[in-house]
Symmetry: C2
Subunit: 221 residues, 2 copies
């Protein structure tokens, strides 16, 4: 495959691509934390190798080949995260930084073995879907908690992002994936919610939190 840096660009491009709006040099530069000139340079090289299409001043478009390559890197990342949590006993807040490095390891047998030992998991520890071996990423249909109504009962299925501090916060609240959450009320002023889940009753969740909790409705109170 490509270099570590190119692989990280492909991954970033894949994520921007999912947001189905045109991918700009500026945006890619922000995600990659490099200057725009560096992006222009790299994008030219990636285009030469057929990972994407690029014309001066035009949006960047991933090719089929580029999308598949990116999905397979993300597969390695997410399989690793799941392996670290389910087979090695790491917390979900510890695994991203390790996976960020492991995703560049070139060893089909390593990731095939992880997949086998876990019986082909479909989601990573943060609820993100794991692309299949052919590079297909199944779409999920989860919605942010703040899009549901009073008296809805939902399951927490995924997190919109998985920053360390956010995961630590959820740990402190003992809020885990697949937990059932009942929405008692929504404060109209600041959109904060009063919810119950597990052993916790009538907990307040700010809108900042609830907007990052991706859920699925399963019933009413």
């Amino acid at each position: 495959m490509a270099s570590q840096s190119k692989e990280n660009y492909l991954k970033a491009l894949f994520h921007l691509d999912q947001k189905d709006k045109a991918i700009s040099v500026t945006e890619l530069g922000k995600v990659m934390e490099v200057k725009k000139s560096s992006v222009t340079n790299m994008v030219k090289k990636l285009a030469e190798s057929g990972w994407l299409k690029y014309e001066k001043y035009q949006p960047i478009r991933l090719t089929k080949k580029g999308r598949k390559a990116a999905a397979l890197i993300i597969r390695k990342h997410r399989l690793t995260e799941m392996f670290l949590v389910t087979k090695m006993g790491f917390g979900w807040e510890e695994v991203h930084d390790i996976a960020e490095q492991m995703e560049h390891i070139d060893s089909p047998i390593l990731f095939d073995k992880m997949d086998e030992l876990m019986d082909s998991p479909r989601f990573d520890p943060h609820g993100s879907p794991i692309p299949s071996k052919d590079g297909t990423l199944h779409a999920t249909h989860f919605y942010p908690l703040d899009s549901f109504k009073q008296n809805d009962i939902v399951l927490l299925k995924a997190l919109r992002h998985s920053e360390h501090t956010f995961l630590e916060y959820l740990n402190s609240k003992e809020l885990k994936l697949h937990e059932q959450i009942a929405i008692h009320s929504i404060e109209p002023f600041d959109k904060s919610m009063i919810v119950s889940y597990g052993k916790h009753t009538h907990v307040v969740l700010s809108a900042t939190i609830s907007t990052n909790l991706m859920c699925e409705k399963v019933g009413d109170i």
Copy 2:
């Protein structure tokens, strides 16, 4: 730590250092599979960072700091190999190439966790000692099978090298680590041996093989 390339140089230097003769630019170049000029260049940089001492035309000498850093990389390599074999079900012939990449992963918690899950193993799957967390490498006292005599009974404790083809050969002979080997006779002409071990009786081992099987005497026939 240093770059991946620098880490590989340190590892190579550590191995050459074990052979307690002066380390030359030429030799290091051979091990690293780079030209001598590339070595001179890199050695200058490593010296600047204090990993080794270097003066023009003089042998290269690792510093204490360099030796410790190298040992800790080797620790990561060998812990990984052992983890892959004992916890993931890989064969001892499959793990070196993966460990060669994993040894560069910067994550103390990952390797601490492996260590913990395996109860601090002292040897890797090929019988090489695993340096301790403080960078100490315990010396082993194993000798090649061809240095023992007729009627000696020995244990196979380590391999001198672990090339894929050699390991496959041992697999085909069902010869495993910690196996008890009885030496029935030694052919004076080519130093080949007739030995028994496990379910196998009176197997012929060429000198090429026996010189790479590191053993420890445990008795007589």
